[in-house]
Every structure is written in C-alpha cells, then in structure tokens.
C-alpha cells in the first residue's frame, strides 16, 4: 500500500460543497483514521465543521486508474487558516502531521506530499520571508520522514483572491505565487500546479467543489509526469467523467448499503434483501 500526506491550509483540507459534485468511492482508496485505514469518504479532513471537497479525492481516483492492483491511503493533516509560521518545525501542526504520517508508514509506503497554503500570508508584505519559510517546511518534513527525495506537489493560489468575502484580505497572492514558483524551481522533486481558472465558493476564498476535482487531476498529472503543470489541462473534465463513470464494486456496494442502513434510510428487511442481492 502507498500513501500521500496532505498538508497546508483550508483549500487543501477542502471546503468545496459535497452536494455540488458526484461522490467518489473506491475500495482501493483509503484515509487515515485513528492511525488505521478506512475506505475514503469525503470529507477526508475534519479540521472544521465546514470541511468538504479538496483536491485529494480526485487525485487519488486518478492515481488509482493508473495503479489498478494497488491501494492508496490519504493522510489528512491540513489545517484551515494556518499561516506558514504555524508550519515551522517546532509548531504543533508539523509535529502532529509527522506523527500521523509515521502511523501511516507503519502500514504503507509514503510516496508524496500534496501541499496548498498561502492565503493567510497574502498580506502585510509577508511574501518577503515566505520562500525561505516554505523551503524550511519542505526540508524539515523530508528530513523527519527519512525521505530526502520525497516528491512534493505544490498548488498556486487561485486568482479569485483579494476581491470579495473572506478572500478580500489576500491582496498579495500574486507575490506569494511568485515565491512559491521560486521555491519549487529550486528544490528537486518538487512540482508546481497551476490554479488557473478555478472558481470560488461565494465566500471568495475557498475553491468550489467542481474546481477542486479539476485541481486534483492537475496535482496527479504533476505527480505522475514529474513535471510542473503551469496552466489548466485541457482534459480535466474528461478524466473526471471516467472517474465518475467507474463501475461500483461489490465491496463498495456493501459499504454504501451498510452506510444507508446505519443512517436509517432503509429497514432491516430491505437491507437483508439488498445485501443478499449484492452478495449472491
């Protein structure tokens, strides 16, 4: 089994509305819960009550299409609103994320980090020290994980920032993006993913559900090809159609049926009937 560490702030944790996009269930995609693996169900993060769709689910689904016989586990450690300073080596967020990653590594091989952060640092000239701090975060994680060449995929900040709602204060996102690009170009095995053409929730700061699905496809393209993705891809929606159109397996059907029964959506007799039908 392989695994991927998810760190950064809210747009990595995910705030896209679940009701806006088709769900992704895949028995080969799991998420870390209490140090163990469970089948992925969004929201993958639970950093806030408003956690929703992030880039990780479609990233994992795209990975899974290329690795049909393997499992991928997602390690959710992104934290809404966190600044780059809160990811310094002595801070709780990084110590906790490393702790979670080490639990995951007891039963998986960590093959990458997905990172998205910077909205909180897009003001008051913070960009001037951002590159140095970001580089230190990446180097610290690689060192502590004992994986000096671990691939790190880094999304840029969306261009809808600085305009409205909770995004209003992020006026220096272009400066932060320049610093992100610089760090990525300076580090080995570090790849950039463009946030071009992504759409915001009405709050003006969070990437919406549909755009997060597209963003995840770009993250996977960067990971798979080991290359920067400097613009939107042409075929994101086509790839998502393939993911959504995947046939549900027997195990997934049993999972979904059991979930619906636990939620009181059908009675026991109907549950048994459907269970028998699936497993016959």
């Amino acid at each position: 089994m392989k695994s991927i560490l998810l760190i950064g702030q809210s747009n990595m944790a995910g705030r896209g509305y679940l009701s806006e996009v088709p769900a992704i269930y895949n028995e080969n995609i799991e998420m870390l819960r209490n140090g163990r693996w469970q089948m992925m169900a969004e929201p993958i993060h639970s950093d806030r009550e408003v956690a929703g769709v992030g880039p990780a689910a479609s990233f994992a689904a795209a990975w899974s299409q290329d690795h049909l016989a393997e499992k991928l586990g997602l390690i959710p450690c992104a934290e809404g609103g966190s600044s780059i300073d809160e990811w310094a080596s002595d801070q709780v967020l990084s110590r906790h994320a490393l702790s979670e990653a080490k639990f995951a590594m007891e039963s998986s091989e960590l093959i990458g980090i997905l990172w998205h952060q910077g909205e909180t640092d897009s003001l008051n000239g913070r960009y001037k020290e951002y590159a140095e701090k970001l580089k230190a975060v990446f180097e610290h994680f690689r060192q502590e994980l004992g994986l000096p060449e671990l691939p790190i995929i880094v999304g840029t900040l969306p261009t809808f920032l600085g305009k409205t709602g909770f995004g209003l204060s992020a006026v220096e996102f272009e400066e932060i993006n320049q610093e992100i690009e610089r760090v990525v170009s300076e580090l080995e095995n570090c790849y950039l993913v463009s946030a071009e053409n992504l759409t915001a929730n009405p709050d003006g700061i969070h990437i919406n559900g549909e755009s997060q699905r597209q963003f995840g496809i770009r993250y996977y393209e960067a990971f798979a090809k080991k290359t920067d993705i400097p613009t939107a891809l042409g075929n994101e929606d086509e790839q998502l159609s393939k993911i959504y159109g995947r046939a549900t397996t027997k195990n997934e059907k049993i999972y979904l049926l059991s979930r619906d029964f636990a939620l009181g959506k059908l009675d026991y007799q109907k549950f048994i009937e459907k269970f028998t039908e699936i497993t016959k």
Copy 2:
C-alpha cells in the same frame, strides 16, 4: 483548560443522528483537531462517514454549567467496531489515542477518560477474558499518561442489543456488562454508568441521538459525584432543557454566522450586515 479523552467503540464515537437533537455550541467547549483546539461542533469524531451524536457533547455541556469560567477540550479517539483486543497496549488504537492525548496535554490538564466498548465482544464466550483485558487497557492508559488516579467513566451496554439489525450478533451483552461492573468495582476512581432505557437507531446497535444526550448527562453525573450511576437519572431531560436553553454568546454567534457564510447560506452583504449587528 481541562480535557477529557474519549475512547472505546462506535457508541462512544457517536452514531446518533444530528438531525434528531438540538445542536450544542459553547465557546468554552472545544475538540482536538490536528493537535490543537477548535470550538466543538458535532460530529466530534470522524472515525466513519456515519459519525454523529455521542455522549461527549452533553457531558461537556453539563460540565461547563458547573465550571462557567473554564474551558473543556474533548479528545476524540474512539473507533467504530473495535474489539477489546484492538485496545491492547501494543495496538495502533491505543498508541494513537495516547499520542493524541499527549498533544492535548501540551495545552490542557487531562481530568478523565470516558469509555464505552463491548458490543464487538458480546459473542462466542469472549466475556470470559474480557475483564482481565479491560483492566489492562485502563491500567495501561493511566500509566502511559502518568496519571495513576485518572478518573475513568464506563458506560454499560444497552439492553436493546442481541435483538435486530447490526445488534443481532451481540447476544452476550449481559455477560459483558457483568464483567464491566466487576472491573469498575475493582479499580479506584472508576465509575459505572447505566445504559438503562436507552433507545437504538433502526440498525439495532447504535444509541440514538436523544438517548446519547441522556447518556452524556449520566456520564457527567458519575464524573462530578465520583459515584456509580446504576440506573437512569430522573432529571436528564430537565438538564438537557437547560443546556439547549442556554443563551448564545457573541463569539458563538460570529462562529455560526461565519459557518453559514462559508456554506453559501447567505451572501457577503448580508453577512456583513449581520456581523455588524452582532458586534456593534
């Protein structure tokens, strides 16, 4: 700040339907997220997609009424379906729960454990070795946390088990309850909480939302009075009315307004209007 560790299986994690009971928000009640504290919002656990109402929210709300100037933090580490063997000292669940508790203890004083487990062990004569194993779990946690006298509050298994749905297999819940009672009576600072008159979800194994709220009141009564609660209390619903009737503070209003804005339930202009109204 004080804190409470939540461990056990699904009925501690919570499977009551959130739609069934009034929500509890209280700026003095927090929950551990990424090693840090956030205001409590249910579900407190995220062990499974179906996580919902457990006993912890009403426990904390009752505690808060008696400690108006203090904060309480909840550490969610219960795991759906886990057996007593999966809580042995060398297992991931206990190692992970201890790791989470230690992050919490960097910024809080741990004052107790709430435990509920045993459904998974209510078959095949497992009760014969249950007491010994349960005792070992409690002793291990106290030792590793460096708190040999840490209060542990232990709920019994509900009498609706063994009858229908997912509860069908739990035929030896009465034997398990006898073993739980024995362990509690043998350990210092360990108190029993009766599951008398609790009602199940349609799945026949999970305590419903309303009953979980009552159960939490009983857990708090045992914790506060340092005594066993061998039957239902007479005044649970009265206590819950007081909790539900508590006036919402300014900080809680800002939290709820910001949440609704993030969820797209109101536009930015309306958000600003309401925000101005709350903070004027």
